[in-house]
Each structure stands twice: as structure tokens, then as C-alpha cells.
Amino acid sequence: MIEFRFQDRVITAEEGQSIGAALHAAGIRSWRTTRFGDRPRGLFCAIGACFDCLLTVNGRPDQRACQTVARPGDEVTA
């Protein structure tokens, strides 16, 4: 198991698991809100096609959570 940080929480993930899957497994189902409607979004297609699950990883914005493998010590923000 590895650990990364999401906002102020420590999330555990299996080796090779995506950040999106680890967050979903931890009961966190949304991690951003939309620009116009302020609507919560998280995983939808989970295979990299829909771009709903975007978040910021180690300062790099607009990463697809479902396509980004969690690494130990990652700093993940909305």
C-alpha cells in the first residue's frame, strides 16, 4: 500500500491504482465543481474519455484522476 495526500486527508492506495479509484474507494466521490453550475464531479467514464475527473497532482493542473497512477507522497488538490 502507498499513501498520498488529498487536500487535508491521507489516502491509501494499492500499488498501481489510479488516484481516482483510490479516492472513490475512500468514499470521496467528487473533487471538483463545475465552472458555471458549481456542480460536483468525480469519476464518470473511468477510462480517460470524459475528463470529468480532472484534478491537480503535485502542482500539475488538469490531470485525469482515472488515468494518473497514485505515487507515494503525491500532493493532490482539486
Binding site: 466521490r29 469519476l43 464518470f44 473511468a46 477510462i47 474519455a49 470524459c50
Partner: protein, 414 residues
């Protein structure tokens, strides 16, 4: 190095092609966006040995250029080959309904990917809905993961054509029977002529509205079902961006190929779902056939097998269409385009201004202009403007940074 063959997509079709080509002594590069081979179908399966294949994973191919007699395949670095095989598969086809943007609504393929690829339960109490035989393995995957599957809802009705097709392909009939048995054992109702027409919840799904459907999908007799997750899929859309970029001929939603899996563009081969959604077994056969385009005549056995599996796929396509009655489920505030948050009423305004085709609607109301480039709303926007969904031309198949582009320029100038 210039490869004899570059394969984009390491699913059943691409894996087979790369393996067969390497065995025949060709130099092969195999590229895939994911960190593992297998694509969506073999997700989570053991990684196969690919002796003699240059496997390049985590490579998101964003464009292919044809220059002289070779192809330059651009990902984080450029791969050059004399022949290109595109086997980039498909993604779930989705249609809008009120509440479909709530967290906890997942595509059917996404729910399965979470279990098979990530060992994560998509939810505790899940409703599976949509159309097509894929809903069955998804429901069974969820059951096997310990999820409570409340109902499986198939919008279409059983068709005689489907029964006849199953009778001709015993392996598929046995597979379907296995799923049906598993659902029955777990007491999961499988209801045809039913659909989820709305999802409800504050910040996440708390329940869905289920309706019975007429044959053309007009809803009646509504009820609500409590659940924390909805897995919904209405078949698949081929992911043919690279082929469309190259100018390959398309028909309906897919690229056309000949007996050698050759597209209309010289040196460009295609196999698997990009040539029409037909499943993994057909993809394997087509991957093998594609290699024969480089080494000789296609073996009659493979051609016959492809024809048999394609006939079966055609029966599926005709038995599980997306019928326009889903438009009855929409309300003025329903989002059609998730990325740009374009509602049904915004599309209607554009139509009132005279926009009567998907492109003009896109220019006026912006559906399909966001991150996903219309992958999620393409079918809906086309049908809402009275057009048949067609593959869209995307100059960039993947989002890239300006830094990637400058790097690309620098390579060009050296």
C-alpha cells in the same frame, strides 16, 4: 529506427497483431496510453510476454502524420513506422437524462474498469441500466466483487433476430446463459423494456427513477429505486480519432476495411472496435488478419471466422439500437454536454436561431467544445438535431501541452 509495423492500442486486437508480427520476423512497436497492456477488455489480466515487440506503455498518441512512405506517431516521443495499425477500441456510448452528471453515475464500462482494473467497488447498491449484452457481464462482475446489484434494466425488448444469432454462435449462447444463471442465483431482476430516466441526490446518487418503455422508448409507469451508484451504458462508440485524422473512409460510426484490415489510406490498417463494435473475439481475429496485409494472402480460416463474428455483431447492433424515445426523458434543464454545461434549453435556443446541424449548434451553443471533445455528448447532439452520429474530426486525439508541441517542433527542425 523505422519499424515495419507500429500498433496503437494494446487491447485484444493490438496485442494479437504485435505478437503475430514479431513471430513473423517484423520489427514492431506497440503503443498504449495505459501503464499496462490489455485495453479495456483484458484490464487487470496478467501481462502477456511479448517477445521481440518494443512495448511502449503510458504513451498517449495525439496525432499521426504521414510523410513520404512512413508514419510519424506522436506521443511523448515520436515513433516512426512504414505501416500503421490502429486498434484504439471504443468507449461507452452514453445518452443524457436528468441527474446524469451526479457523482455516483458511472458508465457501465467505467464500473467494470473500477472492479477489474482497480479492485475497487464502484458502490454498495448499484443499478445497471442501458442497452446491449455488455450490461450482463458488468452486473456479474459487480456481483463477484460483492456489490449488491439491485436491478439490471435493458431498454430494448428481446428480439427474434438476437435469438437466431445466438443459436448460430454457441460460445456466445453459453456465455449469455452463464450470466443469466448467475443473476438468477443472486436474485437480481433483469427487466427488458425498462430504463433509468432520472438520477436523484444532493451531492451523489441516492436513487433513480425507473420507467417502463414502449417499443420506441417512450416512458410510462415510473417508480423510484434507492441506490448509491448507477452503471449506465448504451453500447459503444468506436474511438477512431487517429484514423479520421488520416482521412480513412468511414461508414456510420466506424472505419471501413477490406479483407486485410486495410483502410482507404495506403499503409494504414485498422482492427477491432474501430472497424465496428464486435467484441474481443472478433478483435483477436482481425489483429491476426491485419499482419497478413504485410506478409501475404489472408488465411481463409481467419476470414471465415471474422465473417461469422461480424454477422453476430451486426445482429447485436440491430437488436440493441439507441432509439430516439430517450429524448422524452429530457427536461429543459437537463445537461446534454457535461463539459460545457450546455442544457437542453440552450440547444433549443440555438435551433430556434436556425442551427439545424451538429456543427452549427456547436458553434452557437458550445456542446462538444469542452475537454472530452464531444465524446460523451456526440450521439445526443447529433440525434437532437436530426442527424446520424458520425465520427468527429479531432486534430488532437489527446489534450497536449504547448510544451509538448514546442518539443515536437524542435524534433522537426533537427
Amino acid at each position: 529506427m523505422i519499424y515495419d509495423l507500429a500498433v496503437v492500442g494494446a487491447g485484444p486486437a493490438g496485442l494479437t497483431a504485435a505478437r503475430v508480427a514479431a513471430r513473423r520476423g517484423l520489427s514492431v512497436a506497440l503503443l498504449d496510453a495505459y501503464a499496462k497492456t490489455g485495453g479495456q477488455f483484458l484490464r487487470g489480466a496478467a501481462q502477456p510476454r511479448l517477445t521481440g515487440v518494443d512495448v511502449r506503455l503510458g504513451r498517449r498518441v495525439w496525432a499521426v502524420e504521414k510523410s513520404q512512405e512512413r508514419f510519424e506517431i506522436h506521443a511523448s516521443e515520436t515513433t516512426t513506422a512504414t505501416t500503421l495499425l490502429v486498434a484504439t477500441g471504443a468507449h461507452d456510448r452514453v445518452i443524457p437524462f436528468p441527474g446524469w452528471d451526479l457523482p455516483g453515475v458511472l458508465t457501465a464500462g467505467g464500473a467494470q474498469a473500477l472492479v477489474k482494473g482497480e479492485r475497487v467497488k464502484p458502490g454498495e447498491e448499484v443499478v445497471v441500466a442501458g442497452t446491449g449484452p455488455f450490461l450482463l457481464p458488468v452486473a456479474v462482475t459487480l456481483l463477484d466483487a460483492g456489490v449488491r446489484v439491485k436491478e439490471v434494466l435493458e431498454a430494448n425488448r428481446p428480439s427474434p433476430r438476437m435469438a437466431a444469432a445466438l443459436a448460430r454462435v454457441p460460445s456466445k449462447a453459453a456465455e449469455a446463459l452463464g450470466y443469466a444463471r448467475r443473476l438468477a442465483e443472486a436474485r437480481v431482476p433483469y427487466r427488458t423494456g425498462h430504463a433509468v430516466v432520472a438520477a436523484h441526490g444532493e451531492d451523489s446518487v441516492e436513487g433513480v427513477t425507473v420507467a417502463k418503455l414502449t417499443r420506441d422508448w417512450k416512458p410510462y409507469a415510473w417508480r423510484t429505486v434507492d441506490c448509491d451508484t448507477l452503471a449506465v451504458g448504451y453500447g459503444f462508440t468506436p474511438q477512431a480519432d487517429l484514423l479520421v485524422q488520416l482521412g480513412c473512409r468511414t461508414e456510420g460510426d466506424h472505419v471501413t476495411v477490406d479483407d486485410h484490415q486495410r483502410t482507404s489510406v495506403d499503409g494504414v490498417l485498422a482492427a477491432g472496435e474501430v472497424t465496428g463494435v464486435a467484441g474481443a473475439a472478433a478483435a483477436v481475429v482481425e489483429g491476426a488478419l491485419a499482419v497478413h496485409a504485410l506478409i501475404g494472402a489472408p488465411p481463409p480460416r481467419l476470414l471465415a471466422e471474422r465473417a461469422r463474428l461480424r454477422r453476430f455483431a451486426r445482429a447485436l447492433e440491430l437488436s440493441y439500437p439507441v432509439r430516439d424515445g430517450w429524448q422524452h426523458w429530457l427536461t429543459p434543464g437537463t445537461l446534454v454536454c457535461r463539459c460545457e454545461e450546455v442544457t437542453v434549453s440552450a440547444l433549443e435556443e440555438a435551433r430556434d436561431l436556425g442551427a439545424d446541424d451538429p456543427r452549427t449548434v456547436k458553434l452557437l451553443a458550445r456542446p462538444g467544445m469542452g475537454w472530452c471533445q464531444g465524446r460523451m455528448c456526440g450521439h445526443a447532439v447529433a440525434r437532437l438535431t436530426g442527424h446520424d452520429p458520425a465520427p468527429q474530426k479531432r486534430p488532437f486525439a489527446q489534450p497536449i501541452t504547448l510544451a509538448d508541441l514546442t518539443l515536437h517542433d524542435r524534433e522537426d527542425s533537427t
